[in-house]
Symmetry: D2
Subunit: 306 residues, 4 copies
């Protein structure tokens, strides 16, 4: 079974000021991520503005990623979820053909009242059956309104191609329930602050917005945990709490893109309707980055995301 | 200002068993709707499986609708919402060019935490500014998780191209608040059971799944209300409550499509992941339709949606 | 069966500045309500700060109410809900003995995960079985987190002592469902803006915070509806939307108490933790009352609730 | 500052079959808990059916607890929350006078719309100001619908008598946020499955239903964590996941009481409206207890809780 353990950033999609995808700037960012202590990348995750991308943009972005990652030993986990089962299968197969090693599959979520556990299981089994690559179920109730129960996750994972899940809701009770029955499943924390508590229960890593610009400190948490330095692990983990909130729940994608700008990547603007951060938010994020030593010099470029 | 008062069905998108759009069967259904006491149709609404349609499918469906409605005096209200502002504008302009008289605009909803009132207002104002046709805001929190406040609806409606809203949450308190400030806004009930209470407060009509196969009884409610027959209005409205639940919250799109099959339209299967109804649900719906005299003979075709 | 049709205020509990119940001021308020076009009062409702009252305070308040209402032909509907079944029964029996004509029973709500439809039905049937007076089920999900389904309401109403329900969530879809099966049930709107739409579907009246100081305009809505003056009913109903919001969702109990002060009743302070309104909120409410002609002179007393 | 680190059960309130509190059986249970590896007890917590107790029952139970704990070196943390500020203060002072070492304070929760962060902070500061003993804030959104933000917790903890919080929502993201700013605060996990992940981030212990009958395994998690045996900690923690679900979210208080019966304590019936477990639920819990070696012989007494 493919070992997905490790730290992954769900990378933002860079846009030009006119909202076109900036594939060249994506390539530039990838060069920088390759130099970081990461096991790979996720494209697109929620933070990649997947909801705003056309199918063709998603495919073109995968091609750029695969080309850059080639020979690096790093993995591409492709986000392939769509509302319909047929489109999810088509995207998963396309990602596999282009060269993704695994798929992270957002569930359908619009027709919430019809999406019973039975419907969700059938959907994921249909996808797994047609997928050439291992599938991770993606639990992100803050965006989808769908919060998988342990029993539906276990039901889905009866299919051998469903190898685990990512949980952006950071639910440790759910994690303990699932791993008590299936300790072999590969679970990934879905937000930076959950890395250490998830590792403590047996998760294999994390797919975290924070990893886009803070791979170093997250790796410190990882190493300290695995080497038994409990106090160091705790301290580094907690030190990341505020910047983690800023680039997820508090300021969302515009916050993450601004942080990227400030750390020497290209963040740039989000697509509308998302609005640029105001000055106070930018200053708050800069202060948090500086306190962690993550901000490289004067983020002159940061204004570009405004 | 365009008068949108009246009764409209958000029509289902017919699919072949292999999930392709059945444009010919759509044309056939349109012939039947033209003979009903309806002021027009909505395509696509939530019940049209809009979430499963590609952009091209949506455009092709509009073309079929416009062609059939031509000369009938009936209106096409086009569903043009998308997650990104740019795509929403592009779809709205395309619908107008093809011949839609108004647009029903679902808001963005994935990045809930970032979708503040400010962001939502800016989005709708940007759409209104570029729209050649009047815009209705679409409030359907059960699907989107976004529930517009009266103040944000009033803020949006400051733009002259935003002429009203559809409310699938049937919120009469919100309706009273909005109309107390802007009695000129055109509000449409978004579910069959809300028609009479919405009319009582000054709403101009309804966009209701129920109107796909029960235009007659809904027209009776309308006429009885406007002609002051309170008791008849109440009785007919309440008589529709159970079938209305069946084709909305209880059985969703598969329930609606089965009811269409039973009433002589083509309903057919929904796209996956939505599952066909089981035998008990089908029997329940048939019994409700028969009790209302809506079911035409033996729905032999109904099995096709199974 | 007891006819509960009509308009009722859930009356606030007056407190002295030191938070003791001001029974004498309650008696004074009752004198004024007796002169209003009301069919009775509810004590305590949510707006009466029931959650802050001891059992003895509740009982003493009932005694004051019964004494004042005696001979007036007006009804006392007593709020008798408690978390445990035994306490709910004891309170209902006490209220009946003191002289209440009916009970409005809030459900248990703390152990939400255990409060299945089966548990809720058994609770209400146990209460109904021991109650000497008719019972109204009280649906107020904004406070309790419990939102009764139509089917559980119908199940409860199989007991002859359960004669209807009050719905503060103003759900017209639920109302149509319930009345389609049991048109004999007595349903009361639970918020001022819902009166007209609820009447249109067959509700028998309302228990509304607004009725504490706006019985006149609410009676106009009632009369206009029953006499077929649709436009007048609509206009008066909508004119009350803003002040209704202010004394319910927007400013809650402190807002209601301030409005009472401004209209010549004793409102006074709420018990802590509820805080007094700030100056801006007070001015907003005064402006709304003045626009409706409800504010009597200069509310010098209003400062007392600050 | 009082060190509250450790493992605590929120002990059930035993009732006779006629629903009276069984103080003698409480005393008997306390004898057994004194022999367990626990730092003390919590009375009443949510699992103690606090919502069903009168003020006098609460006080009498505290007296029994203090008497039994005397000289044992174990702590009584008293649950003293009530809807009104005045009652919360009165209960806290009573608990302190009787001999409780700390108070666990459930927030007010009925008037959700009025319970802003400002109101909640003022309430807790008022309680802290009058409390003779340290106060823990109690976060249990599944029951209260109130979910404290990190910022309001930090605001409350500005008062020196507010020394930490218990979080039954097991939110590790919140925990990291709070401890990053105030590493001195004493946070306690509020459900058994959260113990290890909470410890990993710096929490000082747990107040967990599971500790009522599984203090031994929870102590193993604690010891393994503090002694650096990561794999043992993880395995024991995960092994408890299913029984933890059974006595909390899945079967609630009746599930917990049945488990107590099966483990040699007196569980007995819950107060109505809570219903006894059915046979299938009882068998499921017995199987979970047996698998963990927690069930002592044949729980003949268990039928008593049926």
């Amino acid at each position: 079974m493919l070992d997905l353990s490790g730290i992954y950033p769900p990378i933002p999609t860079p846009f030009h000021p006119d909202e076109r995808v900036a594939y060249d700037l994506l390539a530039g960012n990838l060069e920088r991520w390759l130099a970081q202590p990461l096991e790979g990348i996720v494209m697109p995750g929620s933070n990649s503005e997947a909801a705003f991308l056309t199918r063709q943009e998603r495919i073109d972005a995968w091609k750029v990623c695969v080309e850059r990652l080639e020979g690096s030993g790093k993995r591409l986990i492709a986000g392939t979820g769509a509302e319909s089962t047929a489109e999810t299968i088509a995207l998963t197969q396309a990602a596999a053909q282009i060269g993704a090693q695994a798929a992270l599959v957002l569930p359908p979520y619009f027709y919430k009242q019809s999406l019973t556990n039975e419907v969700l299981s059938a959907h994921f089994h249909a996808v797994a059956k047609e997928s050439p690559i291992p599938v991770l179920v993606y639990n992100v109730p803050a965006f989808t309104g769908i919060d998988f129960t342990p029993s539906v996750l276990l039901k889905m994972a009866e299919h051998p191609m469903i190898v685990g899940y990512k949980d952006s809701s950071a639910n440790v009770v759910k994690l303990a329930s699932v791993l008590s029955k299936r300790p072999d499943l590969q679970v990934l924390a879905g937000t930076g602050s959950a890395l250490l508590p998830f590792l403590s229960l047996g998760a294999v890593g994390g797919i975290m917005a924070l990893a886009n610009f803070a791979a170093g400190p997250l790796r410190k948490v990882w190493d300290a945990f695995h080497q038994g330095r409990r106090e160091e692990a705790r301290q580094v983990q907690c030190s990341l709490a505020e910047i983690n909130n800023s680039v997820t729940s508090r300021y969302g994608v515009p916050g993450l893109k601004f942080a990227l700008d400030a750390c020497g990547y290209y963040g740039g603007p989000a697509r509308r309707p998302l609005l640029a951060l105001d000055a106070a938010a930018r200053e708050e994020i800069l202060a948090q980055l500086r306190a962690l030593g993550l901000c490289q010099g004067n983020p002159g470029q940061a204004g570009a995301s405004g």
